[in-house]
């Protein structure tokens, strides 16, 4: 049997679940209930979109705020210190808020030689990209902004536009350090997008869907038993290898240490961020933390079961499916899993030294890409065998 047919069989097997809930996004649904008669449809849609966008913006802010605080505490405790302890009282929980206020009040400087328009536009593009990507992330089985069957593809695609923003920031700053940062970002992202995408193909083949919702639902059953533990890494050993590749590539995509070359502090001062200050500077960090979260979500959904844990399975057995509590549990599960990933990223950042640019390139092109391709092949074989055996 040819490889092609094998892949075809793997993909076309009928394992796409029926969608548990077919509807628009939950904001629209919510609004539809209170929609006045006189409101024209376009205005209603615009309102719904506006509210959804506001929700995503708030979500990014909260994620960034929490992540920054978490990063400071994690790094603090790794480094034999406490991190912020005073602002807000309990363990300095309001430190990021205070920082945010400080950054907002700071003078917004644009260097004289900078390309003003692009300098202004760059943070906007970076944020727009990550907002768009976050819109594809479901909050739970019934709560989502857009029901996307190409969820992960959308996330990767829109997430990649942030690269352009970073490159734009570096170039517009008209500083040589920034330019170096921008060039490193461009080179690095181009190199790691391939292993990132290819390694994701492995769980995609296992689960047979691009949709985050379906992928999560798919991982509920282990050997036909709805126990919430049929995670992709458990059902296929090559997914574990793929996850390692995915994770390394994700670190590079989100420019986290040890791949923080675009802003390498000790080499490029602050790389593409060198000339930025105040709230513009913080936009880049919001993007960075949101991207970390998003990558962790993708990792959690496609490798580690998404919303699924034995708890959700139990709730389904107790016929609580579709309720608010069920959705809340799903949401909490995903957020916990994602933040476990974020924590792993932080742990790595505060432990490892930075790699050099030629090592980054070597790793991306020479090792990760072929390994990812090998993983895809092996996954295909495994899935086909599983298909033959289990059916």
């Amino acid at each position: 049997m040819s490889f092609l047919a094998l892949v075809q069989d793997t993909i076309t097997k009928d394992n796409v679940m029926g969608t548990p809930h077919d509807g628009g996004n939950f904001v629209t649904e919510l609004l539809a209930k209170i929609r006045p008669e006189w409101l024209p449809e376009w205005m209603f849609i615009l309102t719904a979109v506006g509210i959804a966008v506001g929700f995503i913006v708030a979500m990014v802010s909260v994620i960034a705020m929490w992540s920054v605080w978490m990063e400071r505490k994690v790094s603090g405790h790794i480094q034999c210190r406490y991190g912020p302890m005073y602002a807000g009282g309990w363990h300095g929980w309001a430190q990021t808020l205070a920082d945010g206020v400080k950054l907002l009040l700071k003078e917004d400087m644009i260097p004289k030689g900078a390309d003003r328009a692009l300098f202004w536009l760059a943070p906007a593009i970076v944020l727009a990209g990550i907002f768009g990507a976050l819109a594809a992330m479901p909050l739970s089985y019934d709560w989502y902004f857009a029901r996307m069957d190409l969820g992960v593809f959308t996330i990767l695609a829109l997430g990649s536009t942030t690269t352009i923003g970073v490159v734009m920031a570096g170039w517009a700053s008209n500083s040589k350090w920034s330019l170096y940062g921008a060039m490193r970002e461009a080179a690095q992202v181009v190199a790691y997008e391939i292993p990132l995408g290819v390694s994701l193909l492995c769980p995609l083949m296992t689960l047979g869907t691009f949709s985050l919702l379906d992928a999560s639902r798919e991982q509920a059953t282990l050997f036909g038993w709805d126990c919430g533990m049929g995670w992709a890494v458990f059902t296929n050993p090559f997914n574990m290898a793929a996850f390692v590749i995915f994770w390394i590539a994700a670190l590079a995509e989100t420019k986290r240490a040890p791949f923080d070359l675009p802003e390498a502090e000790s080499e490029l001062v602050a790389g593409f961020l060198t000339e930025y200050s105040g709230i513009r500077w913080s936009f880049f960090f919001m993007e960075e933390y949101a991207a970390m979260f998003l990558m962790s979500v993708v990792g959690a959904v496609f490798f580690f079961g998404g919303f699924e844990t034995p708890l959700t399975a139990l709730m389904r057995a107790a016929d609580l499916e579709g309720g608010v509590l069920y959705n809340l549990v799903c949401f909490g599960t995903l957020v916990l899993k994602a933040f476990a990933g974020v924590f792993l990223m932080m742990w790595l950042r505060w432990t490892l030294p930075r790699v050099r640019i030629d090592q980054v390139m070597t790793m991306g092109y020479k090792y990760l890409t072929p390994l990812a391709l090998l993983c895809v092949l092996l996954t295909a074989v495994w899935e086909y065998v599983r298909y033959l055996v289990v059916g």
Partner: protein, 406 residues
């Protein structure tokens, strides 16, 4: 600056000279795209130059094709001051050039002045306290070198670990002399005052704890795979090159030269300690790459911390009660003469040339600063490396700008 501009000729003609052996052993060619070189200022406010030093880099993409250190941003006329203040008054100024190992600077200056005073006898207890302080300060300095090198490579956490122990050393110094950074503790003729009760015991405790923590340092950076990848085969200084540039201290030993002033030209009681077989001289042997690369220099510094601990332990064993300062008047008059004493500073040979005409003030007070000499090697090491490597190379020279500029 002008020099660099004259050399600035975009390389269009491909030639086999542009072939470069990468650290991984592969051969790389730079020939097909003719790009214009970028002149870029690293410093004076760059985080990796360890102070206000400036390196003018000429880069071709990520490749550094030329480097020129510019000094003098921290020049404080230390030598001129030495000719204008009394012998003892100059002592606090010695703290300030290599502020990370102020005890050793005090020691070097005191020994140089004492070399002009043949009648002066240094009590044994003073010598041992001097040794303890100098070695503890060597550890503190090596900890900074360890931590900041981690920072240069991109690892943040080791820096904090190093500061944890350095803090203790500073607390110890604070207990003995009241200062944490610039001590002025080792005086001409001895040390300023005796160790407070319990101090020597606490030093012993520190030694015990440090030995455990040192293992942590070793695992965190020295044997870290990414760290080794970044530092091996980078900035290789051969033995001949080290001689040529007059390198001393860990820079020289990193190139595999077995030379340590403490053993080979002993001053104070180091001969006795060596004869007792207490410590060894760690050498760079090219375990991870080539002898004399950045990793070797770093390795030597990390190993030296342990050797210093051994020396401190020996001193704690043999120390006895007694006076801590010789017969030195309030206003010191140094007999005429000129002397040079070089001691093993954490960064290399710290030499003091002092010239007295018999008065209260030095005629000439020259400081041969190891960082200043070691820095000159950058010009040769950096071309042909990547931008990130150049940072690693600067870090591996472990300069203190206060000392290069004096």
């Amino acid at each position: 600056m002008t020099d660099l501009k004259q050399q600035h000729t975009p390389s269009i003609q491909p030639s086999s000279e542009e072939e470069r052996i990468l650290p991984s052993g592969e051969r790389e060619f730079f020939f097909d795209v003719s790009t214009s070189d970028l002149e870029i200022n690293m410093g004076p406010q760059h985080p990796a130059t360890h102070g206000v030093m400036r390196v003018l880099l000429r880069t071709d993409g990520e490749l550094v094709t030329g480097a020129q250190p510019h000094l003098g941003y921290l020049h404080r006329c230390a030598e001129k001051i030495g000719e204008n203040v009394e012998w003892l008054q100059y002592l606090p100024y010695t703290d300030r050039y290599d502020y990370l190992s102020a005890m050793n600077n005090n020691l070097g200056y005191s020994l140089a002045v004492e070399s002009l005073m043949p009648e002066l006898e240094i009590p044994r207890r003073a010598t041992l306290i001097r040794t303890i302080c100098a070695e503890l300060n060597r550890i503190a300095s090596a900890l900074i070198a360890y931590g900041t090198y981690g920072l240069d490579i991109g690892a943040f956490t080791p820096f904090f670990y190093a500061f944890r122990e350095r803090e203790w050393i500073q607390a110890l110094f604070e207990k003995i002399c009241g200062a944490r950074l610039t001590y002025s503790f080792i005086r001409i003729g001895g040390v300023f005052n005796d160790a407070p009760p319990g101090w020597l015991k606490e030093v012993g405790m520190f030694c015990d704890v440090f030995e455990e923590k040192w293992r942590e340092y070793y695992d965190l950076l020295v044997e870290n795979h990414l760290f080794v990848m970044r530092t091996k085969d980078i900035g290789i200084i051969s033995e001949e090159m080290a001689y040529d540039f007059g390198l001393t201290g860990p820079m020289l030993r990193g190139s595999g030269v077995d030379f340590d002033l403490r053993r080979d030209m002993p001053y104070m009681d180091y001969k006795e300690i060596w004869d007792a077989g207490v410590y060894q001289i760690p050498l760079g042997r090219g375990e991870k790459g080539t002898t004399g690369d950045c990793w070797d220099r770093f390795y030597v510094r990390v190993q030296e911390m342990m050797e210093s601990i051994k020396i401190v332990r020996y001193c704690l064993e043999v120390i006895e009660a007694g006076p801590v300062i010789g017969d030195v008047p309030k206003v010191i008059k140094v007999p005429p003469g000129e002397g040079y004493v070089g001691i093993e500073n954490p960064r290399g040979e710290l030499g003091h040339y002092v010239h007295s005409d018999g008065g209260k003030i030095a005629v000439r007070c020259r400081v041969r600063a190891p960082s200043f000499v070691n820095l000159a090697v950058l010009e040769d090491l950096m071309p042909g490396t990547l931008l990130a490597d150049s940072v690693a190379i600067i870090g591996s020279t472990d300069i203190v700008v206060g000392e290069t500029d004096r």
